[in-house]
């Protein structure tokens, strides 16, 4: 609230699993309309941080504010309704349902609950959204195919499309290029840049070049703690970061 342009504020977030401090006193904020990236070596606590933000796990200490509202401890479905969507590092789709149905389910969240018992063909807004996303993510020709039968690259695209179907204001992408070929990674990078014109993106990514090219702001994590943050060039030049992460990579 101190910065009205911040869509997400994370304050002193802390969570332990057993004796391990997975996320230890992490604070940062995400400005509306920006692309913010969280980087760090494996086990730095990036995914745990995402899980804390989207409500999958509750923090031991600290606050998460979404659009100025304290959403700490809210269940994931409530946070999703408040305008936050996420994709998963390990593709997490409705594998035994058609591509189209995956998207329609996600778009259905746009409908008021009073329309819950109307036939699905009547939900014009959701259906329009499904068509738009099928085209945008080049999945139209696969609309009737079961999501489980798509190629890896297609599944990764669908993963992002599903996250977008509910028209979130803030999109959390957990390693969207995970396991992708070089060409697909370039496509995804272009796509994220396009997305960022309309919504705010918070990204976890391993691909440093992709992060540096896309992000307005970079948060570096190391062993559960925030090591550094700033614009990409500044972070790249930070000796602590070079030592902990970039130097080793």
């Amino acid at each position: 609230m101190n910065a009205p342009a911040a869509i997400l504020e994370v304050e002193n977030l802390r969570v332990s699993f057993g004796g391990l401090k997975a996320v230890n006193d992490v604070s940062f904020s995400v400005q509306r309309g920006s692309v913010t990236s969280v980087i760090g070596p494996n086990g730095a606590g990036k995914s745990t941080l995402f899980n804390l933000i989207c409500g999958a796990i509750a923090p031991d200490h600290g606050r998460v504010r979404l659009k100025g509202n304290d959403v700490t401890g809210w269940p994931p479905n409530r946070i999703a309704r408040a305008g936050l969507a996420r994709s998963f590092q390990i593709t997490n789709l409705f594998f035994d349902l058609p591509v189209e149905e995956n998207l329609r389910l996600a778009a259905q969240a746009l409908e008021p609950s009073g329309k819950l018992l109307r036939p699905k063909r009547h939900s014009q807004r959701a259906n329009a959204k499904v068509r738009e996303l099928l085209e945008r993510f080049e999945l139209s020709h696969k609309a009737g195919e079961l999501a489980g039968y798509l190629s890896h690259g297609e599944q990764r695209r669908l993963e992002i499309a599903v996250a977008l179907a509910g028209e979130p204001e803030l999109l959390l992408l957990d390693e969207p290029t995970q396991g992708m070929s070089h060409g697909d990674t370039a496509d995804t990078s272009r796509m994220i840049r396009e997305l960022a014109r309309d919504i705010t993106v918070l990204l976890i990514e391993h691909d440093i070049e992709l992060v540096m090219g896309l992000s307005h702001w970079v948060v570096v994590m190391h062993q559960g703690q925030k090591l550094s943050e700033g614009p990409p060039e500044q972070v790249r030049a930070d000796p602590a970061v070079r030592k902990a992460y970039l130097g080793e990579a």
């Binding site: 479905n77 035994d96 149905e101 389910l105 996600a106 018992l117 699905k120 195919e145 599944q155 599903v162």
Partner: protein, 341 residues
């Protein structure tokens, strides 16, 4: 089975074509039933008409199981609780002369809804095998309670349910006539089928399918799976109670056996045999199993063994049930639970 790990299928099946076979099953059922009823009426048949009516009543219980198992991904081993609840409510009130046909049906629903919401609050909170055990336990507790309640006839059950006239305004159905009762039950079960089939194609129903498919993901789309599961549980309970209420009207009595594990388990077998997640399959499954039981039962008292063996063969050779034989390719809602567990 996890389709993500299977080979990419080169040709995607057209959804319209895929459903065609099952749609034929939907049309064939009333056609076959009406033919059967006509023959029965001409021959003045009683036994087989009443047996077929019972199969339709049990099909209602199977539909109830299918909503949970086939669409929501919840295996209930205690669905007979609601069947018995409906049966006892109807038998008790009808025996007292307190209500007529419609009153008996409405009372069953009026009782099943709060009981289901209360039991659902407990059962839905638990996952997987714990849900199964709780549904099983709840039905056992209810059965034993009735067994030990003298006012409800104890182990003897309730007898002396009068033969009813169902008043539909324009016409009356004499439930004493085997043909008329059969036709009424056919109309009721097809009505239930159409209603539930509609419901499963609404956003509500599609969300249930999504929960069955991947409950974890559903939460991050903004839905609270718990609420949907509770609603599905209540709908299923009402379907079971409604068909249960028809039972004493046909047989003239109710007994605690209606709530026993065997009833619940038979309903699950019916659904798997008929085709999980198809709604129409379990209706065929019910007719097939009641028929099998009667035919085999007239030959040998060990017919359970034969049915058990047939069930195993069916699971191996037609894992998607009777309805699966009419499907061209795997489709979402009909995903076979037996394959996955």
């Amino acid at each position: 089975m996890h389709p993500a790990n299977t080979v990419v299928s080169p040709a995607a099946p057209a959804p319209a074509r895929r459903r065609l076979g099952v749609q034929h099953l939907v049309i064939a059922f009333p056609v076959l039933s009406l033919t059967f009823a006509s023959i029965g009426a001409v021959l003045g048949e009683t036994f087989y008409l009443r047996l077929a009516t019972e199969a339709l009543i049990l099909a209602g219980l199977a539909l109830s199981v299918d909503i949970l198992l086939g669409y929501t991904g919840l295996l209930s081993l205690g669905q007979a609780l609601y069947f018995g609840l409906g049966a006892y409510t109807a038998a008790y009130l009808l025996g007292q002369g307190a209500v007529g046909f419609w009153g008996a049906l409405l009372s069953s629903l009026a009782l099943a809804t709060p009981v289901a919401l209360l039991a659902g609050l407990v059962a839905i909170r638990s996952k997987g095998v714990y849900f199964i055990l709780i549904t099983f336990g709840l039905a056992q507790v209810a059965a034993k309670t009735i067994y030990n309640t003298r006012e409800l006839g104890g182990s003897d059950g309730l007898v002396g349910v009068p033969v009813l006239q169902a008043d539909f305004g324009l016409f009356r159905v004499d439930l004493g006539s085997p043909v008329e009762f059969f036709l009424l039950m056919l109309a009721l079960i097809m009505g239930l089928y159409l209603g539930l089939n509609y419901l499963m194609h609404t956003p509500f129903g599609r969300t249930l399918v999504a929960i069955r498919s991947n409950e974890h993901r559903v939460r991050f789309l903004g839905f609270d799976p718990w609420r949907y599961k509770l609603a599905a549980y209540a709908v299923a309970a009402n379907v079971a109670a409604l068909s249960g209420a028809m039972y004493p009207m046909l047989r003239g009595f109710v007994s605690p056996e209606l709530l026993y594990f065997k009833m619940s388990a038979d309903a699950v077998i019916t659904v798997i045999f008929g085709g999980v997640g198809t709604l129409i399959g379990p209706i065929y499954g019910s007719v097939a199993l009641v028929g099998l039981r009667t035919v085999l039962g007239s030959w040998t008292e060990h017919y359970h063994m034969i049915i058990g063996a047939l069930f195993m063969l069916a699971v191996i050779f037609m894992p998607r049930g009777i309805a699966g034989l009419f499907e061209r390719k795997e489709s979402g809602p009909a995903q076979d639970e037996a394959e996955r567990t």
